[in-house]
């Protein structure tokens, strides 16, 4: 591998393998060749001895002991949550779930109705009754009671179309409407009787009217019916008084003075109550946990 004259390269080759030689890590052929060279070269033997001495010195060097232990602090066992905290946590969870469910029901109900439900519509509708009752009494006899009534009735009804929820709230009223009408009103005109029937039976309304009346449009007039029973009409009235006439007068002369008291739906009240319950129990839980 190395020529006899190239001793420097040989020494370098041996030097690089002395460490592996000491640790018995050399391949067999390299090991044999290195031992052969060590037997012939005093310089490489001295180099090997110095390397052995170095390793021995390193192992003899004093090692300072650590001044402290390196064990980790053992965490204290966690105490189980108290009854109050567990109750507050459970109450918060239940109230939150109930709030979410209530809001969900509210949203589904509104979507099902097709339009946002006005909170005060039923109340406002009922509060207009006294005004309409006043308008019922003095009706001039010369006023036409034929076809124009229906036209006016349909016109007056159209701007005040209530939403479905308002309609449902006022539906029971028309069933009692025909009973208190004075007999004179029923006898005088068959057409006015038809109109009254159409108003009391919403399903037949399109047949009786001009074809544009819908059950929704009939609803407002039906709510007036109880007022007619409460207000005794004078028998001397020459012309029959119908609900259409009432609405005609209402649209021409009397402007209904409506007042509304703030009323909130029960569902909304439940939502507000649950919201405050969540806040209350959540705060209680946090306070308990901090303590």
């Amino acid at each position: 591998m190395f020529g006899r004259n190239n001793s420097t390269e040989l020494h370098t080759w041996v030097e690089a393998r002395l460490s592996d030689y000491l640790d018995q890590q050399l391949p067999a052929n390299d090991h044999a060749r290195l031992e052969q060279h060590l037997g012939e070269c005093a310089q490489c033997r001295a180099s090997l001895e110095a390397l052995r001495w170095t390793i021995a010195l390193v192992k003899q060097a004093p090692v300072p002991a650590a001044r402290k232990s390196f064990t980790l602090p053992v965490p204290a066992p966690r105490s189980s949550p108290s009854f109050g905290f567990a109750f507050a946590r459970l109450a918060t969870a239940m109230a939150t779930l109930a709030l979410v469910a209530t809001i969900g029901i509210d949203v589904i109900t509104r979507l099902g109705a097709g339009a946002p439900a006005p909170l005060m519509a039923p109340a406002a509708q009922k509060r207009t009754e006294p005004t309409q009752a006043i308008a019922l009494a003095p009706i001039p006899a010369s006023q036409p009671t034929e076809a124009p009534r229906m036209g006016i009735a349909s016109k007056s009804a159209s701007p005040a179309v209530p939403p479905a929820s308002a309609l449902s709230a006022t539906l029971p009223a028309p069933t009692k409407a025909p009973a208190p009408l004075p007999p004179s009103a029923e006898v005088s005109s068959t057409q006015s009787a038809d109109t009254a029937k159409a108003q009391t039976q919403p399903a037949r309304a399109p047949v009786a009217g001009s074809g544009t009346i819908t059950p929704t449009m009939v609803a407002p007039t039906a709510t007036i019916a109880p007022t007619q029973t409460a207000t005794p009409l004078p028998t001397a009235t020459p012309a029959p008084t119908t609900i259409a006439q009432v609405q005609q007068r209402e649209s021409v002369s009397a402007s209904p003075v409506t007042y509304s008291a703030p009323s909130v739906s029960p569902l909304r009240l439940i939502e507000i109550g649950l919201f405050f319950a969540v806040i209350f129990f959540g705060t209680l839980m946090l306070l308990w946990r901090r303590r």
Binding site: E15, A16, R17, L18, S19, D20, D23, Q25, Q43, C44, A46, S47, E49, A50, L51, W53, T54, I55, L57, V58, K59, Q60, A61, P62, V63, P64, A65, A66, R67, K68, S69, F70, T71, L72, P73, V74, P75
Partner: protein
């Protein structure tokens, strides 16, 4: 409880079981850190960080030599300390080590050892430490793990995340460089520790 059971318990979060492992290895870990860093405070910091890191990542241990796995963490902690030391150099504790009246804390004086022997041993330790300080960190760590801590080449390769050939070459260069340093600074080596034969 054997080591594997303690490791398994520590992997489940048992700090008490991990502390038993710490007690078994802390002397070796600290010794290695001290030899690499040459400073007690830095070695203590590195040791503590290594054990904390080991506990945090003990789930990553998948078997094999636990000592090698632990020393790999120690190696990284020592490298972190060396980088920090380069950024903010501190005073050496070498003077304290050489002072016979104020030996390094924790260095136990052997019972039969005379005060002179004790001083000479301290001088030897200081010289070795100075020689180790002249080596590149990779070579220094390899030499410490093999010649002082007695790890096998395979364990060193695992601890230093390298291959066997690299370990051999680093160790060879480190030994030769330290030998050259000690031969050149032989007057710093106490007389009874000097090489009897003529240097090459």
């Amino acid at each position: 409880m054997d080591e594997q059971a303690l490791i398994h318990a520590a992997q489940q979060g048992d700090v008490a079981a991990f502390n038993q492992i710490v007690r078994a290895y802390q002397a070796q870990v600290y010794r290695t850190a001290y030899r690499v860093l040459g400073d007690q405070a830095a070695a203590e910091d590195a040791t503590q960080e290594a054990f904390i890191s080991a506990f945090k990542h003990i789930r990553a241990y998948r078997g094999g030599s636990f000592k090698a796995w632990l020393l790999r963490i120690v190696t990284n902690a020592c490298y972190d300390q060396l980088r920090a030391k380069q950024r903010r150099p501190t005073a050496s504790l070498e003077a304290i080590l050489l002072d016979a009246d104020n030996p390094a804390p924790g260095v136990d004086r052997a019972a039969p050892e005379s005060p002179q022997d004790f001083v000479e041993r301290q001088e030897l330790g200081a010289t070795i430490q100075r020689g180790l300080g002249t080596l590149p960190p990779d070579q220094r760590m390899t030499l410490i793990l093999v010649d002082i801590e007695g790890l096998s080449y395979d364990e060193v390769a695992q601890a230093m995340q390298t291959n066997l050939g690299t370990v051999k070459s680093r160790l060879s260069r480190a030994r030769l460089a330290l030998r050259d340093f000690l031969v050149q600074q032989v007057e710093l080596v106490p007389a009874r520790y000097r090489l009897k034969s003529e240097p090459f």
